[in-house]
Symmetry: D2
């Protein structure tokens, strides 16, 4: 019953197998091997256009270096107020990019377009005192389990581009959003206006596979130097490439995300039918937020269920009562129906 | 015949096996799992004292974050003029630490203590215009295949500490130096005055395992924040821990280094007995520098031998002639005697 | 009728006279002259204890370097959401300190202590993902013309220190607040818990005189290097010292601030008695915020009155109507009663 | 007998007078007043083309921000090994630009073009590990009193541009070089290939007047934000403008530099004719380096002469003996013939 986070899961056997095969060979270092180049080509196919791809060690690195590549002195980047870049990266995006992250409100992890417009208006291009609007970053799927529709992405992109701002997408759970929307990678990104993507594999079955994807290679020209100076260029880079090869092979990545989402559906259905618990808000990805009695949560924890308490957001329709607690449950490629059912039984037991 | 670098090798089977085992489990993320903690304990044993250990993604990260933890505003760090931190890390140590790297000369990759003293003297502690001496970093084994003796380490440490400067050791090839000296990890580090160590596993059989080791845990208190802000905290950190577990088990790491050094010895012996080639200077680790006719090098390359041409250092006893070329050959845990012999035959063929 | 800002004023004759005298002498550079040292001593007297004083070029520099001296990696500084460090310094405090500025709400420029507590709680000292609470900065007088009482300062300081956070005060308009409260410099700072002060002279009659004042010299030990590395060490530093000498002589600085405040009082009284305009909210320093018909504001502007339109804050008791506009009026040491009366006549004219 | 540095001098009466006049007026802040704009126009005339001008607080700021405007990630800037940006600015150029300063050798403060070429060659444009050559900076007049000829400037510029590198000139003593060469400002800069200039007025009679001058305004487009974020935008900027107005009026700046140089000539002549002292090397600006008996130097110091001991450079034709000492003497606009003669008498006294 490991629902603490999808990064508590291990690695998928197909990915392990590919790593094993890679381990017995010699090959060129620092991302110049044939395998590295082949995987870059594979990203072109996945995204249906020529892209520039850069492997890095962590999702925080992907976000931070992507934003660094868009940075200007005095720049301000707009992100949802609960975004990972604001709340969970210890200031790394600010450190690497030299920009400030400016919070944009909106219900359940999604930026409200009107609020985005009003925030951007505070930082006009000649505002030497305020600083200037420079980039927008959105998270798909969001930190709170919701998913932007394709039209919503396009709306954020339209606003960004109208103000001359490139749009970055934090795709730590890219696949979970993609399979939910039934869209292609191209449709969920550049076809709707996304300029740069943090493409995460770690949470979805790799053990360490994160990439920055530029849809306009011209925007990527500083990234090789930014990456090296940021200590993010792996010498044995091909072991990242190998993970991505297996991950992208025969739609494995989509299958893994579908499985994680299905496990979350099973949780959602079970909690919806529960007498003791309720869903805190509607989610669609592999994250589920539930309100349940503190005693129930405590008992479940004591019986081995792993999950985190969550800070109550400002916009809860029905606030969390004194007796209750808000928790986050995350499923992964490795979650089993038995895990889910065991947890639901604990909840039902009250 | 892969002699380009030890980071062209793959990963050792024992390490793969341990990774496979790890991949089927769930465990806490971000370095808080039982395995992470167990490996930290293992480092205590290896170094015979309580140390603080931090895993990072690359050797550049280990060096840069170690120096960042020692940094002061206006600080200057002293390193050999051919050190990795100066020549091969794209300014990452400067970027993360905010310090300048000041070059110290010395024959074949080892700092001349007298020159170190005179460089430090240029940056007194109240020298607000020059900047102030703040740290010293040495590389063991060096970039040019040589190895500081224990007494030489102690001499560098003595000078550093006399001036109030902590001493960092870049141990990307720590094991290769260790087995050559026949010393214990403690003897080659804190017992001789080293304060912080970049402990590299990647070049010696892991696929990605680098650690920063503080011999005084009090010096490490900022590192958790420095690491996270630097985007170097792995979510599935335990996969680094797993590599280190296998690496340190039953002296595997020392055996792998002994093998690499032995292969270099075989190369050295062969080249010493050669009519066409000569050793450029004496080395003791798994790096060999040879001078051979350009035509011979070219022919060897065409027959599949991989190596890099090397920039002639200022202090070559016998300069490289017009007809000749200076090359670097690096052996690894995966180099075979057959590889070495095949290469030597190509050289002998002229 | 120059009410755009107090930094539109020139310099006071007594300050000019002192500068003239200084200009004919030779003296040691970079803050080491006898005059520099004498002025440092003068600050000790003004603040009734041994302080450490550092001259810098701008108020933004004073704030940024003060915060840089308090910084930790991953650090977060709390400031009112409308504070100069957040809104008007182009990210300089973030750039120099490496910290993020976290906004705290509160009516009319003053941090609400309860909101400060809840913001600090978001960043506990071991929160490697969020970042950690590191410093608090408050503005006295505030950006919106209000003034913290001594008890309010003490309350902010108490909260800060309870959480181990040093308290910085942005005193760009320090003197204006001081004379309004009738307090001594010591009473408005360290006696109530302020640790570091940006002491501004430029807006109150100097042409360029800003200082960072540390009430605990031990906290200042990195500042000489921070300042030099930040390009803020004047070679002819004694010309700053000379301005401060005249400024602090015979309470000139207090007289100038009293005058500016009195001119603001005259404005406030006039606007309060006006049929056409009203005070937007109550202020006590040399800043006045007024709501008046757009046509009236336009006409006044056309007749030479200088002032800025102001963004309507969220917490206006009586919102600004469509026909009206919110403006800011700032008086200075150089404002005359005639200026004020001329402006009031324009307003009365409608 | 103040020969310690030209920044020990005060300010010229004409500049004071202009400041006095400015102090009685109100005017727009932050560099937007009519006077600020008029002085920008004046720089166009002085340099015979449209330039972009930015006032900053210190020469270190001028150099650092100029280089920041040329910076690229992983960038390397080449400067003479004794340049102010390397030796005397506490790492500020590195801090603001994020680039490393790479030392180029050459006799007496002037970069040897061949050595510059070989240094640039170490950092090719695709050298992600080394870092990449990004800018060149030269000092005119140099730190050691010498002056690049126009042809020498052109040669440095040619090499820079051949490698795609913009050329910055540190003109802290611009005027002293200019009058020595008998060139126009245009001839000593953009007509010979200089792209950006630190134009110093402080050492030559202002009390604080430093400017960055871009000869191609397109290169300056980030500077307004860089300057504000660097805390270098003066609120009462027009007091810098006022100094420059007087400084540039009726060739005052050239007259002041001619005077300083003439005083240095007088020193040089006197020392050349001395039995006790000798010139350490030939200089042409307002700096003189002399070798004299330690006892003589000590005696002169005790009688009130101010000067600094100097570190013996590697390339002294005739080394400094044990009995002797190398000193630096700097003249300024305020040095009198009597000062010089008094000093020479002390030297003659032995």
């Amino acid at each position: 019953m490991f629902f603490a986070s999808d990064n508590w899961a291990g690695a998928h056997p197909a990915i392990n197998e590919r790593l094993l095969k890679e381990s017995t060979r010699f090959a060129a270092a620092y991302g110049t091997s044939e395998l590295d180049l082949a995987i870059e080509q594979r990203f072109n196919e996945i995204f249906e256009r020529e892209v520039s791809v850069f492997f890095v060690a962590t999702g925080t690195a992907a976000n931070s270096l992507a934003l660094a590549s868009l940075a200007k002195p005095g720049g301000v980047t707009f992100a949802h107020s609960e975004a990972h870049v604001i709340e969970d990266e210890c200031g790394a995006p600010d450190f690497f990019s030299g920009m400030r992250m400016s919070p944009v409100d909106g219900p359940h992890g999604k930026m409200d377009p009107r609020h985005l417009v009003s925030r951007i208006a505070r930082y006009p291009q000649d505002a030497v005192h305020h600083g200037r609007a420079t980039a927008v970053t959105m998270t798909q799927a969001t930190e709170t389990g919701t998913i932007y529709t394709l039209d919503e992405i396009e709306e954020i992109a339209r606003i960004s581009h109208e103000h001359g701002l490139p749009l970055h997408m934090d795709g730590a759970r890219f696949a979970n959003a993609l399979v939910n929307l039934g869209a292609t990678p191209a449709e969920m990104t550049w076809k709707r206006g996304v300029d740069v993507l943090s493409f995460g594999g770690t949470k979805n079955g790799c053990w360490c596979a994160e990439a920055i994807v530029f849809f306009d290679p011209a925007m990527a020209k500083e990234l090789p130097f930014i990456r090296k100076r940021s200590a993010q260029l792996f010498s044995k880079s091909r072991f990242i490439a190998a993970q991505f090869e297996a991950y992208l092979q025969d739609d494995l990545w989509l299958d893994l995300a579908r499985h994680a989402n299905a496990m979350a559906d099973r949780l959602r259905a079970g909690l919806n039918g529960s007498n003791t618990a309720r869903l805190a808000w509607e989610t669609r990805s592999n994250e589920v937020f539930a309100v349940l009695p503190k005693a129930t949560a405590k008992a479940a924890g004591e019986k081995g269920a792993k999950f985190y308490d969550w800070l109550e957001p400002k916009d809860m329709a029905e606030p969390v009562s004194e007796q209750d607690v808000l928790i986050r449950l995350v499923t992964s490629f490795a979650t089993t129906p038995d895990d889910v059912d065991a947890f639901l039984r604990l909840v039902a037991a009250g």
